[in-house]
């Protein structure tokens, strides 16, 4: 099973298209990829990239917001706008017979947004309301505090939604400026995947996006992203958000992790599988299947353009908070200590990844997201062909080396959102310093 090859074309207007013909039900997905995300937010304006993206589908210069959505609804299209730290993607899924109508609407959305003051205000107010509601969502609070602690004074240190203080000050002029300076001219790629021939997909893109003056709109090449402020690798700490009476504690434990383009990326994947990346991982086995403290926990290395967060995430019953945190720290340390990876753990993790590989490319959405990964991380076109051999090449020594390099229990940041009276004392005794308290 090979990942389907994309045909790459560059239109006269400067837009790059990657097209994949994918047999199956008559469905097409377009994804517009812009390498501008929440890490591009100006330092004093967290939330600007996400608010800008939110306004893309609030009408274009030719269609009002309601007319635009009526047109999308008439063809049964599905629109999805996602803002990550490094990129924004706008995806549009339609039946194959509406591929062109869909693309025309996508063009309205991404290249001609209207940015009406009244729409701006509504979208901003909705975001401020959502921020307010997030204060009572334990997972959202934990995510926010965790990023703040891992990345002080760094573009990865905030959620894409930003802060209320920032949102309250933003104006429609800020959005327009951001769109024209940081968004539109960025190196853009259109990904098209569906039950249509490669050439048809490219022709459609040419018809919709090709008729613009050469180089007038889209940058043609070059990754000019600049490494953001130096990472400070904060020291070990325990941070508590007190929620008196809560029945569980929401946990985030870890530290700054790795970028996607490291040489030993595949060893990190295997290491994570063993530690907490699958159901039968060490942490889920002990905390769920042996102790019953949780519905499930997991770990992940969020591999971004620059080193993203490594984190253990989960929600545990309040009276098992200290023991659960201790177990996570113990397992993080064990790979280079008294619990190195075993042959059977290594086999299981590698087999799950290599034999499960084909499952990831069944739907147009999966294939399109796969292509987006290549674009976003500037990976070679044959990257997926290397996946299985690279995973198979990971041995015990490679896992141990990855653990030594990328797991640092001595600077673990522990964030707990829960009823402090049940665990504050115990956490203080962990040797990671006195707990600090912050507000939800």
């Amino acid at each position: 099973m090979r990942f389907p090859a994309a045909r790459i074309a560059r239109l006269a207007s400067g837009l790059t298209i990657r097209a994949v013909e994918h047999l199956g039900p008559p469905v097409v997905q377009w994804i517009w990829v812009v390498p501008t995300g929440s890490a591009t937010d100006p330092e004093t304006q967290p939330g600007l990239a996400a608010l800008t993206a939110d306004l893309l589908d609030e009408g274009s210069t030719t269609l009002s917001a309601l007319d635009l959505h009526a047109a999308l609804d008439r063809i049964g299209a599905r629109l999805g706008i996602q803002v990550g730290s490094d990129a924004t993607t706008v995806s549009l899924t339609t039946l194959s017979r509406y591929a062109e109508e869909g693309l025309v609407l996508l063009d309205e959305i991404v290249t001609r947004p209207r940015f009406e003051p009244v729409d701006f205000e509504r979208a901003r107010d909705l975001r401020r309301s959502r921020l307010r509601q997030m204060r009572t969502v334990p997972g959202a609070v934990a995510d926010r505090v965790y990023l703040e602690r891992l990345y002080p004074d760094h573009p990865y240190g905030h959620l894409s939604i930003g802060t209320d203080e920032s949102l309250s000050r933003l104006t429609v002029a800020d959005v327009k400026q951001f769109y024209h300076e940081d968004y539109l001219p960025a190196q853009t790629t259109l990904v098209g995947v569906g039950a249509l021939a490669h050439d048809t997909l490219i022709e459609l893109a040419e018809r919709v996006f090709g008729g613009r003056a050469t180089g007038s709109m889209f940058k043609t090449a070059g990754d000019d992203s600049v490494e953001p402020a130096e990472l400070r690798n904060p020291s070990a700490q325990v941070v508590i958000v007190d929620r008196p009476g809560a029945v569980q504690s929401e946990l985030r434990i870890g530290h700054v992790g790795v970028a996607r383009r490291i040489a030993d990326y595949h060893a990190v994947l295997v290491l994570n599988m063993v530690l907490g990346g699958q159901f039968v991982s060490r942490l889920n086995r002990t905390l769920r299947e042996e102790k019953g403290y949780t519905y499930g926990v997991r770990t992940s290395f969020d591999c971004r353009r620059w080193p993203g967060p490594f984190s253990m995430q989960g929600s545990v019953q309040a009276d098992a908070t200290v023991e659960s945190v201790q177990e996570v720290l113990t397992q993080m340390a064990s790979f280079t200590g008294d619990g190195p990876v075993t042959v059977s753990e290594l086999d299981l993790a590698c087999a799950a990844l290599t034999r499960g590989f084909a499952r990831g490319f069944e739907t147009v959405g999966q294939v399109a997201r796969g292509v987006v990964q290549l674009v976003q991380h500037d990976l070679p076109a044959d990257d997926y062909d290397q996946f299985v051999p690279q995973i198979e090449a990971v041995d015990e020594a490679a896992v141990t080396a990855a653990a030594a390099e990328y797991l640092h229990v001595d600077r673990a940041v522990v964030v707990v959102v829960g009823p402090a009276s049940q665990f504050a004392e115990g956490l203080a005794a962990l040797g990671l310093g006195d707990p600090q308290y912050v507000e939800a």
Binding site: P25, T94, Y293, V316
Partner: protein, 440 residues
């Protein structure tokens, strides 16, 4: 739309095979026609707790169910609702036999391996699932309050599938054994195999592993009474309830009992939900969020179930606004619909979305709501795995007059349950006249 072959083994097991050779994967999907509707009062939550026990090993494979399947590169999961419990694996083609063997072993030989240790561990896990998904989540108890009010105490939809904490704590290993003997046998199950298989080879494998499992006893009637007596709608009368919760913004729920899955009126309710709240051009989104800006979100859905359904509209008050204002807008809109019905364009839009949705759902062979899951759903609930075309036909004949009648007949203030969820200490922000909802 889907080609398939169905056969029934001598022990009563329905077997459905669907071939699709695009991707070297195969999906196993196994439904047991049992859910929380089959529970007794005081023993709620048992069907779902039992689902957990199915992953803990069986007589000939008495260890975790995940390990061999993840080793084979499979994804797997299960879920329980009021009417059915489903289990699925998506495997590389070469691992089909492993998956069938494991499914057959837990269908035929679970009990010898079901120990009190496993039972108690998974009971703790389920209690933590309940804490995580319901108790520790904003608005998380709404469904419990609504179901309890919509359906009388002796109706099997009076309780939610997760069950009451005290009942889960009181459940015993003997209860689990009895539950298995009553409901987990071939005559109460439907097995779909979909993907990269040859139909005859698939049937041969299924026969090899499943035909020796003895057919069980007839299924005990739901709620101890013949199912037919549960079909007429319970009419709760006008009910106003409120809950105080750890939330920032009050939310309003309006709910009505409605016709059961596939009965006349069921598809009409789906269309009405879309007319009211599907997308930005829908009536209530436009009125509440877009124009008046008094709500941050609004949604509506028909919860279609085997014995009866419910229709629910919910909306969250924007800061500075009160639920009574939201209620007025919603009630006014329903009144307008009961006089004039939706216009033709609204109905066309809704149908376009439905038709696209049917196709989008065909993209994947496995998992929740993939092809194999749909074949089983139609087989269990309509007695015909090929019911999809007829299902879609239900929507095609719906017009303005019919929808107008449905609104006036079913979505009137009489028979409506109104639930306000308000921030703690703000009982006065509930719709006036509301009484506390008894939810534990």
């Amino acid at each position: 739309m889907l080609e398939y072959t169905k056969r029934t083994l001598e022990n009563g097991l329905d077997v459905i095979v669907h071939e699709d050779h695009r991707c070297p994967i195969v999906a196993i999907n196994l439904w047991y026609h049992v859910g929380s509707k089959n529970e007794q009062r005081g023993r709620t939550g048992l069907a779902h707790l039992f689902e957990h026990l199915m992953f803990e090993g069986s007589a000939h494979h008495d260890s975790g169910y995940f390990t061999p399947l993840q080793q084979a590169g499979a994804a797997l999961n299960g879920s329980t609702n009021s009417d059915r419990t489903n289990y699925w694996e998506v495997l590389p083609t070469t691992a089909l036999e492993l998956g069938l063997w494991l499914e057959s072993d837990r269908m035929g030989y679970l009990l010898p391996a079901l120990t009190s240790e496993k039972f108690e561990n998974q009971r703790d896990v389920v209690l933590n699932e309940r804490r995580q998904q319901y108790e520790n989540r904003p608005y998380g108890l709404a469904s419990m309050a609504l179901m309890a009010a919509l359906f009388p105490p002796d109706h099997p939809y009076h309780w939610t599938t997760i069950g009451e904490t005290a009942d889960i704590q009181a459940a015993t290993l003997d209860d689990a054994h009895e539950f298995f003997r009553s409901y987990y046998h071939p005559g109460n199950a439907s097995l779909a195999v979909a993907g990269d298989v040859n139909s005859e080879a698939a049937f041969a494998l299924v026969e090899q592993y499943f035909e020796d499992i003895p057919s069980g006893s007839p299924i005990p009637p739901v709620g101890g009474v013949p199912e037919v007596s549960l079909l007429p709608q319970a009419t709760p009368g006008e009910t106003y309830l409120f809950l105080e919760d750890d939330v920032e913004l009050p939310r309003l729920y309006l709910a009505w009992p409605t016709p059961r899955l596939f009965a006349q009126g069921d598809a009409e309710m789906d269309v009405l939900a879309d007319v009211l709240t599907g997308g930005k051009t829908s009536r209530l989104y436009r009125a509440l969020v877009y124009d008046k800006r008094i709500a941050t979100d609004v949604s509506a859905a028909q919860g279609s179930r085997e014995l009866a359904s419910w229709f629910c509209i919910s909306a969250t008050a924007a800061p500075g606004h009160e639920l009574v204002d939201l209620e007025r807008v919603i009630v006014d809109e329903l009144e307008r619909l009961s006089e004039l019905g939706p216009d033709v364009h609204e109905i066309e839009r809704s149908l376009a979305q439905m038709e696209a949705q049917f196709i989008y759902q065909l993209e994947t062979v496995g998992g929740f709501s993939g092809r194999s899951d749909q074949l089983n759903a139609y087989n269990i609930f309509a007695g015909d795995p090929g019911f999809m075309d007829k299902d879609l036909m239900r929507y095609r004949g719906i017009g303005t007059d019919l929808l107008r009648e449905e609104v006036s007949k079913r979505l009137s203030p009489r028979g409506r349950v109104t639930l306000s969820i308000v921030p703690r200490g703000s009982a006065g922000r509930a719709i006036s006249g509301s009484i506390p909802a008894g939810v534990v």
